[in-house]
């Protein structure tokens, strides 16, 4: 077993496909590992998933801990947590990153509680830095800075765990960039043989229904998103019409999702999807920090809002103070006229 300090990534997978967020975090772990001189380790639990190990290595891992067992075929809290807890106790990773998926958010707190270590949910950035504790007059070197919007908005908190290991954090899909796969990368696949107590197996999955998501928010080149300023289904239909014209997707702020105007799969932001489209049109979205954290890296941002002081205007490239119900039809009309002109020109 390697004595080298390590950064772990929980590798989540469904139907033989690794979740994007796990590979994104493997890439981030590689970056942090290079900075700290740590080994990057993917923790892969499942049944007959050997083929996935090389993919984890190709995305930046030095080692994959492969726990293969029929009880691990489908994700369940207790067997998965058992493997992570036992291995973490033995190998003492410094950092443990987990995707902020429903399973990841079920798994991570269970493991953190057993290991009695700190866990920060939904980080929007991870950095390495030093932390001085006045009470102890001591500087802790190279801690994981777990950065997240906090307290409902306006504020960004940097959380650290000076005294406990591993330093655990969850990160939502899309926050980190997925690195290009390098099939030539070499790594170690280390098989581990999990042992379960009867108590680990008290929960049975009777059935599982997977709804295939038809929306690909993260990869959409254009996103037309609506927020609290959208009041009617008709106005929401305008968003969809514009998104279709631009070959894009419809996004939403949490306010619009909570209001029941659109499915949660469309939510952009800290607790939704992080996106970096070529063009982001924010229609009636005031721009709370949690939303901006999920879209502020868009190449161009058009903000439409009746409130001239909406925070979204401060990061927008084009500010349109006006009513969504009037401005969107103008944009749609302009685009339709353009495409008609083009057709005539041809």
């Amino acid at each position: 077993m390697s004595e080298k300090q390590s950064i772990w990534v929980f590798i989540e997978h469904t139907d033989g496909v690794i979740a994007d967020v796990s590979l994104e975090l493997t890439g981030k772990a590689r970056e942090l590992g290079d900075q700290l001189g740590f080994e990057v380790v993917g923790l892969l639990c499942g049944h007959e998933v050997d083929a996935l190990a090389q993919e984890v290595i190709a995305h930046g891992a030095d080692r994959v801990l492969l726990a293969d067992h029929e009880e691990l075929a489908l994700y369940r809290t207790l067997p998965y947590a058992r493997v992570a807890i036992e291995e973490a106790r033995k190998r003492k990773p410094e950092i443990f990153l987990i995707g902020g998926t429903p399973n990841g958010r079920d798994f991570a707190p269970r493991v953190a509680s057993a290991l009695r270590c700190g866990l920060t949910a939904d980080c929007t950035d991870l950095q390495i830095g030093d932390y001085y504790v006045k009470k102890e007059d001591k500087t802790y070197k190279d801690l994981l800075f777990q950065i997240r919007p906090a307290f409902g908005g306006n504020l960004i908190a940097t959380i650290v765990n000076p005294h406990t290991r591993p330093q655990m954090a969850t990160v939502r899909e899309g926050v980190m960039r997925k690195p290009a796969a390098d099939a030539a990368r070499v790594g170690v696949v280390e098989k581990i043989a999990p042992v379960f107590d009867p108590g680990d197996l008290v929960l049975q999955v009777l059935s599982r229904q997977v709804r295939k998501s038809t929306i690909k928010l993260k990869d959409a080149p254009v996103i037309v998103a609506g927020g609290a300023g959208i009041e009617t289904a008709d106005e929401f239909a305008l968003l969809r019409e514009l998104a279709n014209l631009l070959g894009g997707e419809v996004g939403a702020s949490r306010a619009a999702v909570d209001a029941g105007l659109i499915d949660r799969a469309h939510q952009v932001g800290q607790t939704g999807t992080t996106v970096r489209p070529r063009l982001y049109i924010a229609a009636g979205i005031s721009g709370a920090i949690q939303h901006r954290a999920g879209m502020d890296q868009s190449s161009k941002i058009i903000a439409i809002n009746t409130d001239p002081n909406a925070p979204m205007f401060q990061i927008a490239h084009y500010r349109i103070v006006g009513d969504v119900g009037e401005v969107l039809p103008l944009i749609i009309k302009t685009l339709r006229e353009r495409s008609m002109d083009q057709r005539e020109a041809e």
Partner: protein, 301 residues
């Protein structure tokens, strides 16, 4: 299910600041929150957990005990629980609980659930709106040494030994069957919480913790002393028990700031980088010009 035995549930609830109305002044220097400066509300998904527990009680018989950790004014949500149908409520309050992260919070809840129990089910909301971490439920389950069913939406069946529930996941749903005791975290789509019952409200409006006695006596001068009020409330089972760290046998080093592995290193106000930006009038001409510019830059095809 004629041979159904009664099911005893604990519901863990939280009073949260209404984070929709947050300002900078509510932050303290050490980066934690001055909760007193914000309007406080019942965490929405905890109401769904309470409703699920009340619904189970209607199906199986049994009891519903509600536990919250918070400042004395969190008694407000406990009264609300009594009005909605809870049998018993407990307030965990102690200055030393302050500044707890999710790990230290789950330890206190574990101690309290163990003291108040045994329970067949422990229920709580999926997450609280002030942190959105969804960590306290699973952490409490781990500390109690019981399994967890997160994102529970529907209780399909309860027998004397097992619960079968449907979980709502982003990508679909799952039906699981698990032995009891088990902890469930409940999603907002699970149900519509019943309102407070007017009759229960009339009967229990005086339910209080001792720190509220002065205020109650100002309103009800017929209680001549705190002792008289205390005796009245105790006799009618309206005195809300308040448990401190000692009462639940919690170890000092595991609670509050001291028991919290996470520390807030710093809190920054978000400084918006001013982007080079143009103001576009909401007119056809201005928008046409904007689109032309975006086409020119290959942003729009």
């Amino acid at each position: 299910m004629t041979d159904q035995r009664p099911i005893h549930s604990a519901v863990l609830v939280k009073q949260v600041p209404d984070t929709h109305n947050i300002t900078g002044e509510v932050m303290t220097k050490d980066g934690t929150m001055n909760r007193g400066a914000l309007p406080a509300i019942f965490n929405p998904e905890d109401l769904n957990a309470l409703e699920m527990a009340l619904d189970i009680r209607e199906r199986t018989g049994g009891t519903v005990t509600v536990i919250t950790m918070g400042p004395p004014k969190a008694a407000n949500i406990l009264r609300d629980c009594l009005f909605r149908g809870a049998d018993r409520v407990i307030l965990l309050t102690d200055r030393r609980f302050a500044g707890a992260d999710t790990l230290a919070t789950s330890y206190v809840l574990q101690c309290a659930v163990q003291k108040a129990g045994p329970f067949d089910l422990v229920l709580c909301g999926r997450q609280a709106i002030d942190g959105d971490t969804a960590q306290v439920g699973p952490q409490t389950a781990e500390k109690l040494g019981i399994p967890q069913i997160t994102y529970a939406e529907t209780i399909i069946e309860i027998t004397s030994t097992h619960v079968t529930a449907e979980r709502a996941l982003d990508s679909g749903s799952e039906i699981v069957r698990c032995t009891m005791p088990v902890l469930l975290t409940v999603v907002g789509s699970a149900n519509t919480p019943r309102p407070a019952s007017v009759r229960r409200q009339m009967e229990r409006k005086l339910a209080a913790v001792p720190s509220e006695y002065t205020a109650i006596r100002a309103q009800w001068p017929e209680f001549e002393s705190d002792e008289a009020l205390d005796a009245y409330l105790t006799k009618r089972d309206l005195k809300i028990p308040v448990w401190t760290a000692e009462d639940i046998g919690a170890t000092e080093g595991s609670i509050g700031l001291a028991g919290s592995p996470t520390q807030v290193h710093k809190v920054n106000f978000v400084v918006l980088e001013s982007t080079e930006s143009k103001t576009i009038a909401p007119t056809a001409e201005a928008i046409k010009a904007m689109i032309a510019e975006l086409v020119h830059e290959y942003i729009v095809g």
